[in-house]
Symmetry: C2
């Protein structure tokens, strides 16, 4: 029986989600696993938890931005905070699930392109037209995607993905589940790595 | 010139502070450094940041307790959550600074004994009488310490240590400063290790 995928929950406006996104596929492959990418809307999660964007927390916010840059340098990942932050990720999330319907691997490729535009290049990816343009440049059908972003079925997929995550008590991004074991935070990828190597401890 | 000590800020009711406390001296010694231990009152910090005990955060709280146990197993540290949590750490903090006046190394030894009673054995260390008893068992003069816990000068030392930490924007526990570079969280000890080995990145 094939081993279960690593479930990877993230929000497109999560800097640490971006930092994890660049490492998780290679980490999984090392252990003969694949990754199931699940973008969600963290704003809906924060309504449940009463939490908010890390970078806006008093004192902790400034430290966190510094730590993101330091982690990025350590891991060799380009990193730039978008000037407008946090930002809406509804269009990005819909684009992912729209592409995923017919092209799951393409959806992951698109997710990386969107994350790269946001945190690799510090760009603004909030608007649907920007997301469509990123997709077009990455080789997807922009016209079809633009229509999908308004499709009630796709809108509902985003809502359902987020609701399912909340029902599973996922409260942050990135959040990984490995054979039922939850790990929160980009820094827990080291634990995920060891968990997969040892079968847990 | 001797290299600067690693500054180690923590609250005696911080589980991750406890987990870091068992590893930080050996880590520092590996790099020819010593550790300057600075217990603080995180409650006063939380009044500034509007934050609160991690274990009481919705959803995140339950995960965190699981993660603490998992980190403790990974690092080979005994760990038990005290039944009453969070708890007052005023007496523990005063005891530290009272002993430190004449016996800095003894204060660190006492800090480890207090932390061990709380999170190694899951005990209640809130009351001054408990702290004095822990100190007595560890070889300190219990009668003198009991008097010190009521000494206005010692009370003021705790307040000053906490105020200085807040002035330096320290918002959590554990919090380490290495040659001016801040690191927050027990999981950042790996970064501290690498920072000391490489001189930073």
């Amino acid at each position: 029986m094939m081993a279960a995928p690593i479930e990877f929950f993230f929000d497109f406006s999560s800097p640490y989600g971006y930092l994890a996104s660049g490492r998780i596929d290679a980490l999984a492959a090392k252990h003969g696993r694949i990754v199931a990418w699940h973008p969600i809307l963290l704003g809906a999660v924060f309504k449940v938890t009463g939490s908010g964007p890390l970078t806006q927390a008093p004192l902790k916010g400034g430290y966190s931005v510094m730590d993101m840059h330091r982690c990025a340098r350590l891991w060799g990942v380009p990193f730039e905070m978008p000037a407008a932050f946090p930002f809406s990720t509804v269009a990005a999330c819909r684009a992912f699930y729209a592409v995923e319907e017919t092209d799951p691997a393409g959806a992951v490729r698109l997710a990386k392109a969107i994350y790269g535009a946001a945190f690799g290049a510090g760009g603004d990816i909030a608007g649907p037209e920007t997301v469509v343009e990123i997709a077009r440049v990455a080789g997807f059908d922009g016209t079809a995607l633009a229509a999908s972003l308004q499709d009630p079925r796709i809108k509902d997929k985003v809502k359902q993905a987020t609701d399912r995550a909340i029902a599973r008590e996922i409260f942050g991004s990135p959040y990984m589940i490995v054979d039922g074991e939850p790990f929160w935070g980009a820094d827990r990828l080291d634990h995920v790595d060891r968990w997969l190597a040892t079968g847990g401890w």
